[in-house]
Point group: D2
Chain length 356, copies 4
């Protein structure tokens, strides 16, 4: 019985998100992959799609045909675009199959919240959720903040890659009501892989190499979930995130630098101590004395944080670094799956950053 | 009259090749651009297509409508794919409008030679040249070797980016009959920009960054022109080029490393001296004592060469470095245009490499 | 007489700053280089130090021996560390030789201002200026703001690479008194070349490649000149710059993203219009509708700017992009030299960015 | 008893080689690290030296004081430069402590062989081995070829990073006597990390980024071990390797492209089949139909190989890709340690490449 593995079905298996969780599941002691499902590359072996998997996985990608989604598995992982998991949610919950979704479909627990997100999203054309009646049962998958809800929810909305670095980076300050007017200015620096596998002009090597490209200035959809999460913490009283994403000529990683005015002067040492206390016992949060670096978390599920103060401790700068495909995506999904199935949060995730 | 500028019409103006020659022409003392022609982005200002041109060029891209090609200009530059200039060649020559073409259309002076090339090319479906009768009038645009033909030809076939580095790098050895059996093994290392502007899976940033991707192994079409050129030099008696292109995670530059067995032991010093004599008076060929580096030619029209010997001087290794978009494309085109119009070869081209 | 060239002596010739101005001077129609002076590599030809200069410059680097500095030249360019030009300033001014200096030595026009800078600088051990009596005669070399002073000053302090992008990017807002409390939060993203040629751990390729490294958090010395310049503009009434430099894994370029609260709601369109009016007639400032990109200025002397607003136009984000070795260093120096000698500001500088 | 871990002492712990094996040992089920020894950074915690280790290892680096080397451990790992382990070899063997060494000290089993290597090495000044009497007891650590010797030897010489990719890539061809005159031309493309952690001009980011730098042309010391290994295989009858290393602007990985003339025409399919048979059962060798890519092995212990033929199957091109810090260094060391202690070769090494 100890050997009975949890069967995970992977939908959207051929994108970078699918690849990430596949690789984590392949080396996880408690999970096995029941099926790889995707429209793209259906019928091909996954190691033909990704030659670096040669010798590691020979499963064939299956098209999402009738009845396949949720069949013969304990959990479904949707590494799919927005509005895909919504289509399967009712069916899966009625059959008692839990799922986790990478998109914004189940990050919000009310239709109002979802509508604000959908309005901001560049490729969602309606503010109506297909399975609005399920909202409220779902959990927002920031493992460090919502473990209990995640453990019990039928479905988990995995957080956005920018959002998780902002939320965890600022949670202690918002919780303590230390952010003046709830306003933070965030410059997010991201590698290219968050945009996925599909070739595009902004991701074309000759254009992006050695470049920095600000985009969706003050208009990124991940801000919505960050503002909701932060604004409702402890003494927060609302949050406004002025967010500027910058695309860098590197593959992996997100480093957010975040500027706040403090409601009262607070020394750097006190803030760092509070951060360490706040995140005590959370295996993937590291509070550093030095500024975090992008490569300091590469390939791992860590989030590295540090805080500095200015102007007589009346203003603070927080920096957070994650691997956008790990803590920012598949690593958080794996951590959430561990929580959903009562396993240690770091099962299958205990790997260090790749350096140099 | 001294101020009368040569009017150049640019076809395929919105690709990297078109951009390269546009920028050279804009700062050239003797040329002016009469029109920018392209299917893509027709109707847009070129500085909207390429924002880095803001304040430098506001011309509007025109669609290649009836009669536009060759109208009101002294020369047409086709920065277009294979088999485009062939369609206009008869018309242009009958009207006395000279042209230069970036593709393989006019690199070969016989139908047999062209057919060998077309067979090898990944996107040409026929070995028949559309204007075969003109072959023989054209010149192959390796400026250092064919200046006289280029000066007088109605049309010039600009060389392939890999080919020019191989041909110039080996010309002295083949001319002197020093290459055993005419065989050379070439490993070519190239930046991404040679593949142009169009997004593609192999050019996707997340895939190419930090990668080396060998492709078209022993099967690249540029080999055909290299074998023909080298094989017919002086005492050569034929040439066979075993060529392996490697795509690197960098934007610009081609470095070819070339291995030959010598027909007789020849000391390195003697070979270097011969190279310096062979290329004397050619402003863009630099023969170095040290190995050339990729960045040593970046942004310039130089080709840097060096030679080393092994096995008691019985084998030699030649290395050549160019900027693939300059000496490998638009720089050579500019140099050829200078030759075609009786100007100094380095007019408008006298810029140093960008370093660091 | 028209052909008489201005003779420029270059001190610190073998660093990146020296290299940059050497290359600009070599292709400038009105200047010639009288001597290359440096401690490092003295006695070597400059094209041995920098092989990419092969065929372009064969001058031998001279050690700064007795009496060499300022001899037989019209102007001296100090591309040297802090506190070098101070040692020669009295002698040069007494002999009527003008100079421009890359360090902080002559950026400040009072001993108090200099002392604040020196205190912040990581490698200056005293707040005393060696030639304090000359402060006040010097001009701070932001060409667009101080052209008249630069034209007449015996010595010009070339601005810091971070400072110039901050100052020009915010000048219209501070001049108009639009910045609430004079406070701006700046995240600066920089390539590696600003740190110069000397190998160091933070510049080691294996460490920096694909990395982002925040450093000197809230403590960079360039902030001092930015605060002084901005704080004294028009209606400014002081400036405080919370500045976080981030070292990126790329070679060239600085992109600053700058967050301010506006003293009154001001629509984006109005701000952009004001910026275009403010910088009208300045050939190197480009105000863009889209966000600037790092590579949009590469290798050129341009500074690209754009502005966005948030929160009902109550907050603004300004972005500026420069090539740190051009507008951020040698390009500004060349522009200032043009101003000092009554030449058009863009003489020898009219080159476009290298793209892709 | 099953839980008793093998105690490994790590000398040279603070370089990239030491870091690599430390990280592998930390997550290995059968090993524990008894001590970290290094001259550099002695007295500091290893997670201060390498902040990415925060939360993973807090051991303090110890100086190599009297009697420390070999004390209280089952095996010593020398991740040190040439001629360090030689000094400890007699003492360790006399005490029955086995060791593995990263340098060339114990790659050769005769003084003659060592002398040839030492002559070629850029920083070894004598051809005399300090403990020549031990040569012959040592094993050369190419795990796939010498497992039996490795299992029993008191000391193992871990192979050079270039050498292992050449040797494994060509072993079947040399074994079968298929290489004409035993001559191979190899272009090796390497990331920067093989040169280690110490800042140097050739490794300076601004110089190396976007560059390709050929170095030690036809003169690299790794060639010696490759020639010896290949030349003594089966029907080989000697080997000559014309090797050109090219330093790339990337951190990790070596891709070797190798050109041979075959002694008899041999179809590609037959060669690939032979390769698959030759390496059957070896978990880290993957023979691919497509060319290997640099990133296809990143962070893993795999070596990816493929072969192509030219000229009517009379010539062959072999390509091999490894992570130079894994299969090219610490991964091979771990694999050899597994062999030395009777563990499965892939214990602690079963991780896939990091992609994208």
């Amino acid at each position: 019985m100890a050997d009975k593995k949890i069967r995970a079905q992977l939908v959207g298996a051929t994108g970078y998100g699918g690849l990430g969780i596949l690789e984590l599941l392949l080396s996880h002691p408690n999970f096995e992959v029941s099926a790889l499902v995707a429209r793209d590359d259906a019928g091909r072996r996954i190691d033909q799609v990704y030659p670096h998997l040669t010798g590691r996985c020979e499963m064939v990608v299956q098209a999402p045909d009738d009845g396949l989604i949720g069949r013969d598995c304990d959990v479904v992982i949707f590494a799919t675009p927005d509005r895909v998991s919504q289509q399967y949610a009712s069916d899966l919950t009625s059959r008692g199959v839990r799922f986790i979704d990478y998109s914004g479909d189940f990050r919000f627990t009310s239709t109002d919240d979802y509508a604000r997100y959908a309005d901001r999203h560049p490729s969602i054309n309606t503010a109506d959720h297909d399975t609005a009646s399920l909202l409220g049962q779902n959990a927002y998958g920031v493992s460090e903040l919502n473990a209990e809800a995640i453990a019990n929810a039928p479905m988990v909305g995995n957080p956005g890659c920018f959002a998780i670095g902002i939320i965890l980076g600022l949670a202690p300050l918002y919780t303590d009501g230390l952010v003046a007017d709830g306003i933070v200015a965030v410059d997010g620096l991201t590698g290219s892989s968050g945009a996925g596998k599909k070739p595009a002009a902004i991701q074309h090597f000759s254009h992006l190499n050695d470049n920095v490209i600000p985009y969706r200035v003050l208009n990124h959809q991940h801000v919505v979930e960050a503002e909701m999460s932060l604004g409702r913490m402890g003494a927060a009283g609302g949050a406004t995130v002025d967010f500027i994403p910058h695309l860098l000529g590197t593959t992996r990683g997100i480093l957010n630098t975040m500027h706040v005015t403090l409601t009262k002067p607070t020394p750097r040492a006190a803030i760092l101590e509070r951060y360490r206390e706040f995140f005590a016992g959370h295996p993937f949060v590291r509070v550093l004395d030095e500024p975090p670096t992008l490569k300091g978390t590469l390939g791992s599920n860590y989030i590295d944080l540090s805080v500095f103060t200015a102007a007589g401790d009346r203003r603070a700068v927080v920096m957070s670094s994650i691997d956008n495909l790990m803590k920012g995506q598949s690593g958080s999904a794996m951590q959430n799956l561990n929580i959903m199935f009562g396993l240690p949060q770091n099962a299958g995730l205990d790997r260090g950053p790749l350096y140099p």
